[in-house]
């Protein structure tokens, strides 16, 4: 049976992972190249085997094989084919398999690179990454088997296992339970893969770091070899977070994109350390400083990925996003204990040799600023981590359950985010090693004056909230300084080359993609910051019950309730849809149709908003099912989310910037072949 083939592929993948680890070990002992090549081939076969397992599961899902426990739990006949296929990551077992497959893709591609410069690291990289992969595959093999078949005995008890228990018959339900309605959204189709790609991507730089520690190489070779991998992982993680926000906004129906939910924070924490890492490796590449710190950061990032996954998948944390109760907890716990201990042991062993000979010269240097940046990121991380873990600690020590909600995070991290913005505005103007106040002042006064326009305009338009004015000014400062940096560089370039401005600008960006890509990312952050300030500080909402033709208003908008439709949809939903006319300043501008979906099988209710969206902000309307009101009356909740679309625009810029920074260019060859030149401060 095809199910056995799938399970065998999983088993073989596990064996191959272990084989790779063993033969890497043999290579370390005898230094014969054929062993490391053999390990490499094993890594590649793991990818093939997991690909096979994934394809089989997708085949089972799309062909309605409801005798498979996993298929019956996440798929149903009424679902369109693409949802059936993407149900691969719709439940615990399948998403673990998908996770392993993504990780094996990373490790597989990594094996195909040219290893001649880092041959000594290779066996350790294989060991560290394959150990992680083997663990995840073993979760599938031993605990959460996606290929388990349903069996029924003569008493009607249903069990699931790979082999048929005695006196049992195979049980094929007529239909599956179907995918959780929350997950039936285009955003949900791509959100998990992006997030997972981000998560598992960090295993590559981590494995290199562990390799460098194990071998005792204190140079930055592991950083240079994984720079692009880190950026790609970080890009996907950012994308995953963004898409997750968009999904929450479109589907969860609470008018927001980010709820400081433990699972969201669990995904956000590796992003924080990853971002800090991306910044501080620049210092190591330029000046050979922060060696220890970079090791700490990448180990922390990896640890947070694993720990976050553990928290959300083991049932330790409760959250909207959490997976159902699962028995993978104990195995996961052992893995965490082992990997954290090994990482720390290796780090402490190499601690002395990682000391940097150069010291920091001044706060007023690029290095000092990066250090400050890292300090702030760590501050945010500590607050996030503490907020997530505190309820657990409190419950154990005092026996009291507590909730740590958004106000805690907003208050503890808000000031640090603002400080990060300020830093982002100053740093491009600060030179390496040391600079002076005069010099910064000389460079910053023009952008500062221009940036003051934004708070001034805000005051004119009637905003007096100090925090809002301050953060808007910070955002505009970063924007002006960053644009000024592009302008300054391009003008200088155009003066000396005689090219026109735009050609010079293009040359400038394409010749130093990393720096200017980074600046584009900063611009993206500015846009997102503006959107976040808009929603966090100026969101307004109202709720009311309307009879047909009755009107409710919020700020400049008003809504007139026209009609209510109730009809069954052939995908197993019962839809209740309201129609409202939207007026802005008493002018009809459109129609909105918020609705409520009721899923018959799972008995779940979804409140799907309809949104009138402009650059100025979103009018977000929900049909609330609070009160049993008839079709003559309906209750609506209306949010006005000012500037929220700037978040998504910022997201696009952000991705563009990361792509610019990641794109291969000649400069990398240069770095590899000529290490000396990049160590030169300019």
């Amino acid at each position: 049976m095809i199910v056995n083939l799938g399970y065998t592929a999983l088993l073989l993948a596990l064996l191959c992972s272990f084989y790779a680890i063993v033969s890497a070990r043999v290579y370390i002992n005898n230094n014969k190249l054929q062993w490391v090549d053999s390990a490499r081939n094993a890594v590649l076969s793991v990818w093939f085997l997991l690909t096979l397992a994934c394809l089989i599961l997708v085949y089972l899902l799309t062909n309605e094989h409801f005798e498979i426990e996993y298929v019956a739990s996440v798929s149903s006949r009424a679902m369109p084919w693409y949802l059936k296929a993407t149900a691969l990551w719709g439940g615990q077992a399948g998403s673990l398999l998908f996770w392993s497959w993504l990780m094996s893709s990373y490790t597989g591609i990594m094996m195909l690179r040219d290893w001649s410069n880092e041959r000594d690291l290779q066996p350790y990289v294989i060991t560290a990454s394959m150990l992680t992969l083997a663990f995840f595959v073993s979760l599938n093999v031993f605990v959460e088997n996606p290929f388990n078949v349903l069996w029924i005995d003569s008493f009607g008890n249903i069990t699931s296992s790979m082999t048929r228990p005695d006196a049992n018959l195979m049980f094929t339900p007529n239909d599956g339970a179907g995918l959780n309605p929350l997950l039936r959204h285009p955003g949900m189709i791509i959100h998990p893969p992006m997030l997972y790609l981000g998560f598992v991507g960090f295993v590559i730089p981590y494995s290199f770091a562990i390799g460098a520690l194990a071998v005792g190489r204190t140079d930055g070779v592991w950083i240079r070899a994984t720079r692009r991998w880190t950026l790609i992982a970080w890009l996907f993680l950012s994308l995953g977070l963004l898409l997750g926000g968009r999904w929450a906004y479109d589907v969860l129906g609470w008018g927001g994109y980010w709820g400081w939910d433990p699972v969201e924070i669990a995904a956000f924490m590796p992003w924080l350390t990853g971002t800090a890492f991306l910044h501080s490796v620049i210092i190591q590449e330029k000046h050979g400083m922060f060696k220890r710190w970079n090791m700490i950061l990448i180990i922390l990032t990896y640890a947070l990925v694993i720990f976050g996954t553990f928290l959300t998948r083991s049932g330790v944390l409760s959250s909207v996003h959490a997976f159902a109760q699962s028995s993978i907890g104990p195995l996961f716990f052992i893995f965490i204990t082992v990997t954290f201990t090994i990482s720390l042991l290796l780090l402490f062993r190499g601690w002395e040799s990682l000391a940097s000979r150069k010291t920091l010269t001044s706060w007023l240097s690029r290095e000092g600023m990066f250090l400050l940046n890292n300090l702030l990121f760590m501050g945010i991380l500590v607050a996030c981590f503490w907020g997530v873990i505190y309820p657990l600690i409190s419950e154990i020590i005092t026996g009291q359950k507590v909730t740590v909600g958004p106000p805690f995070y907003e208050r503890t991290t808000g000031p640090q985010f603002a400080a990060l913005l300020l830093l982002m505005g100053i740093v491009p103007l600060v030179a390496w090693r040391i600079t002076t106040v005069n010099r910064i002042g000389h460079l910053i006064w023009k952008p500062t004056i221009i940036s003051l326009l934004v708070p001034i305009m805000s005051i004119i338009s009637g905003i007096f909230n100090f925090a809002a004015l301050l953060s808007l000014w910070l955002a505009s400062l970063v924007f002006c300084v960053t644009i000024y940096e592009f302008y300054r560089g391009a003008i200088a370039r155009s003066k000396s080359s005689g090219n026109i401005f735009f050609i010079s600008l293009w040359q400038l960006i394409s010749r130093n993609r990393r720096r200017y890509g980074g600046y584009i990312v900063h611009l993206g952050i500015v846009f997102m910051a503006v959107g976040i300030i808009g929603v966090e500080m100026f969101q307004t909402e109202t709720q009311g019950t309307l009879a047909i033709e009755e009107r409710m208003s919020l700020e400049d908008y008003s809504l007139v309730y026209k009609d209510l439709d109730e009809y069954p949809e052939n995908d197993g939903r019962f839809v209740t849809k309201a129609t409202l006319d939207v007026y802005k300043n008493n002018k009809l501008i459109g129609e909105l149709e918020p609705r409520r979906d009721y899923y018959n099988i799972s008995q779940q209710r979804m409140t799907i908003p309809d949104v009138y969206s402009t650059l100025e902000g979103d009018l977000y309307v929900l049909l609330i099912d609070w009160k049993p009101v008839g079709p003559q009356q309906a209750t609506f909740k209306v949010y006005l989310n000012p500037l929220i679309n700037w978040i998504w625009i910022g997201g696009f810029l952000f991705i563009l910037g990361t792509l610019v920074a990641t794109w291969p260019d000649q400069r990398d060859r240069h770095i590899i072949t000529n290490n000396k030149s990049i160590a030169q401060p300019f």
Partner: protein, 191 residues
């Protein structure tokens, strides 16, 4: 490895030992923090894996009913106690409400006490619920949701039967029906 080992930074010998001592203290602190974190997570993991209380001595509690009577589990030893967790917003609870009341009427004279514990509910709706289903056995709110926490309930309804000796005899996760409980009660009364 060898290369970096043989080239320590050229600093005074005494300085290195001070530095090393500091490093060692720092490392110790990191280990302690990690261990503490892991211990907390392990405890929580253990607790979640336990599930609802299944046997042995059930957690003691005191409940004040809606008509201001007070019951303490440990004072009731010698009786069979049926503890039922419910809420007015819970549909499955409605399905078992009539059976529970019937059980109470049939067994209240045989040293059986039914105790209804109202979980995360609002008083007005709870009282409406009790009168709708004509429930006469003692019921009270779970103030601070402490009783439900100590029983680690996963939802409502859940029913726990405590034998005369004060030990848990049976627990039901999800709605009960008359016959399920009757069997347990008869067995306990026969002893």
């Amino acid at each position: 490895m060898a290369m970096s080992r043989t080239n320590p930074p050229k600093l005074g010998q005494s300085h290195i030992t001070v530095q090393q001592r500091k490093n060692r203290l720092g490392q110790l602190a990191v280990w302690i923090l990690l261990a503490a974190l892991l211990v907390f997570v392990a405890i929580k993991l253990f607790q979640t894996s336990l599930g609802p209380v299944r046997s042995g001595k059930p957690p003691d509690f005191t409940i004040t009913t809606f008509n201001d009577q007070t019951y303490t589990l440990s004072d009731l030893e010698g009786k069979i106690i049926v503890i039922n967790f419910w809420a007015s917003w819970c549909d499955p609870c409605k399905a078992e409400a009539a059976d529970l009341e019937m059980l109470w009427r049939d067994y209240k004279d045989k040293d059986v006490l039914l105790l209804g514990i109202d979980y995360a509910d609002t008083e007005k709706e709870a009282l409406d619920y009790l009168s709708t289903w004509d429930i006469t056995y003692p019921n009270g709110p779970d103030v601070g949701t402490t009783i439900s926490q100590s029983y680690r309930i996963r939802g409502v309804p859940e029913t726990y039967i405590v034998a005369q000796n004060g030990l848990l005899a049976k627990s039901f996760i999800g709605p009960i029906n008359y016959e399920n409980v009757e069997v347990v009660l008869e067995a306990l009364l026969d002893k």
